[in-house]
């Protein structure tokens, strides 16, 4: 039996095994193998991609995309989809908006790929588009609704009531930080991405990113201490 798959569905996902299949040859890789930055090698088209700024592989893929190679589009999408989504998700605070923005960012980046001249890493360019789309979205008037996801996620993970309360205080504390500090914490300490990758996303040098991260950790600790002190004072009254 030969199974023919439409190119439109060249990225097939097996939820059980978390493998993707796609491209001109059989390719399989763990979906999570490159999302945490620990082992960032991504296999595609017989090449090994290292998720680092300005990789030669990325430049080759962009050149192939510019010449109309659909496999290069597949590979660039796969390399970046988790990161673009997570970045938008953390900036916007909800899944629906993040999915819309991530989808639009890919479309714009690939549509404009012909005008990309490699002045900066393609990934940095893609994240720049994502960031601008997120900021546009945040400027749009919206109903201020309490995001229920945080509570739901805690409940999904069977957290105890005390733990849910702690999680809410942490989320409140991180919300009090300036955007740059918040993002560097979420990308480095939650997503566990390499500081060099985060530097590309934040348009900073790796050294400046690490310095920002270290300041952000201390700022979060101090905000948490303040919030708990307030809480204890209220309880004491």
């Amino acid at each position: 039996m030969i199974l023919a798959v439409s190119h439109s569905y060249s990225l097939l996902y097996s939820p059980k095994q978390k493998y993707f299949f796609g491209g001109d040859t059989f390719r399989a890789k763990r979906a999570s193998s490159y999302q945490k930055g620990n082992d960032p090698n991504v296999t595609g088209h017989g090449e090994s991609f290292t998720f680092l700024p300005e990789s030669h592989q990325e430049r080759r893929l962009v050149a192939r995309l510019q010449s109309g190679d659909p496999d290069a589009l597949d590979a660039l999408f796969e390399q970046n989809v988790d990161r673009v989504f997570a970045y938008a998700r953390h900036l916007l605070g909800n899944r629906e908006d993040a999915e819309e923005v991530a989808s639009e960012a890919f479309l714009r980046a690939f549509e404009r790929a012909t005008s990309y001249r490699g002045e900066c890493p393609f990934r940095g360019w893609l994240f720049g588009i994502t960031r601008n789309l997120c900021r546009d979205r945040l400027r749009q008037p919206r109903l201020l609704l309490l995001e229920p996801e945080a509570v739901e996620r805690c409940q999904e993970r069977n957290a105890t009531a005390g733990r849910v309360e702690t999680h809410m205080v942490v989320q409140q504390a991180i919300g009090l930080l300036p955007e740059e500090q918040r993002m560097v914490l979420l990308l480095c300490d939650v997503e566990e991405w390499d500081a060099r990758e985060v530097a590309v996303m934040l348009e900073k040098t790796p050294a400046a990113t690490k310095s920002l991260l270290y300041r952000a950790r201390r700022a979060l600790r101090d905000r948490l201490a303040e919030l708990w002190e307030e809480e204890e004072n209220e309880d004491a009254v």
């Binding site: 023919a4 690939f110 989320q171």
Partner: protein, 99 residues
């Protein structure tokens, strides 16, 4: 090791990025210095609480599939797809082949 050497090393130590010899020196200092040990413990606790409170994000399989299909559809005029199948290319997955 003196206390004033620690601020530049503490985050590297907590992230496991210090060379072994240097990490041992920090270990020894933290055992002897309550103020630095407190600083290290509160930072470590903050990192742990952050990770517990906010999960890492991942694009859902549905989103991946929909977006991949949308991209191919929207960009089909710029991609070199086979002429007889403008929006579809036949893939053969080796594991499905009959021996």
């Amino acid at each position: 090791m003196r206390c004033d050497a620690l601020p530049g090393l503490l985050d590297l130590y907590l992230d496991g990025d210090l060379p072994e010899e240097m990490a041992r020196k920090v270990d020894r200092h933290l055992l002897r210095c309550p103020a630095c040990a407190y600083e290290a413990r509160t930072l470590e606790q903050t990192k742990r609480m952050l990770r517990e409170a906010i999960p890492a994000e991942e694009a859902s399989p549905t989103f991946r599939e929909k977006t991949a299909a949308k991209l191919l559809d929207s960009l089909s005029d710029r991609l070199k797809l086979p002429a007889n199948e403008p929006l579809g290319r036949q893939w053969t997955l080796p594991f499905t082949r009959e021996e």
